[in-house]
Symmetry: C2
Subunit: 145 residues, 2 copies
DNA sequence: TTATAAAAGGATATAAATATCTTTTTATAA
DNA sequence: TTATAAAAAGATATTTATATCCTTTTATAA
């Protein structure tokens, strides 16, 4: 499973994208409220994402978070990689040692299929594609209470 | 990803099974050494597994850990469930809310395939099947240094 | 220019996961 | 029946992830 921080990051980026499409640059408070995460913690996560150039930020009045031109095809892989590294894409899923194609753990062959499937999703899906399916109403970002 | 504790648990159980087949009941020290985990921590994990009846233990001289008659078809799912619950089998993989077949997050359909694949492995694979493939030499438990 | 709004940065706090240590209970062999 | 070997139990420590708070920097509008 992805860490809570990574999940916040993904949800935050999707929300920022949605707002950007409405010509808005949301601030920390607005993002935190929308993704249902603590504000100060959200600030830290957004700071990390901006520092790694996954999206951009503007300080001062009228500032906020937004995507620049070259940040439009950000993949889930990029986000996961920045937030928690990529162990989930190469680690043995059951903690069994010596696990690779040449020297497989007893579950290797089956698990690799699952792990590669996850990798494929992460590499293929982009923040903007997710955002678009939400914008179109095909899916939702938040809990429907 | 599974927690470190869960990984230790799986490796420990496989090792115990292998030793049991040699008519031995390994103790904490032997298990810890084999799975390359801290001894005191290994003790706690084995205690948890025994308390939940995933395997059996004998105190006193000549004691150790072993599988009883009704514990032979222990699945990975059972181990994961006891060690960390089963969130990994039902949670949305990307932290997007409102995620189920009726009210899917944008990734739901793709991710469900991956998650169900993992569930299938966990429900199907047993400690004794893993152990057997190691016994036969088809796979290894430990790092080949 | 100054007041204000906003993110960045740094320091600290809390909770959860991982790890260790000591004492107690239990079983067996001598 | 006693000494010993072993797991169980309980208390504590350390580390990592999650979360909060305060100060600094930066940009803009008045």
């Amino acid at each position: 499973m992805l860490s809570k921080s990574t999940e916040y990051a993904i949800r935050a980026l999707v929300f920022i994208q949605l707002r950007n499409w409405e010509q808005k640059r949301p601030g920390v408070g607005e993002v935190a409220r929308e993704i249902e995460a603590p504000e100060a913690y959200t600030a830290k996560i957004l700071q990390t994402l901006a520092k790694h150039k996954l999206m951009d930020s503007a300080k001062g009045r009228g500032g906020g978070f937004f995507f620049g031109e070259n940040q439009s095809s950000l993949t889930l892989y990029d986000v996961i990689h920045v937030m928690e590294g990529d162990a989930c894409f190469h680690k043995c899923g059951f903690g069994l040692k010596s696990c690779n194609d040449h020297n497989p753990c007893p579950l290797h062959d089956k698990y690799v299929v699952v792990r590669d499937g996850f990798f494929e999703i992460a590499k293929t899906e982009t923040i903007s594609a997710l955002s678009d399916s939400i914008r179109r109403g095909d899916a939702v970002l938040n809990r429907i209470v």
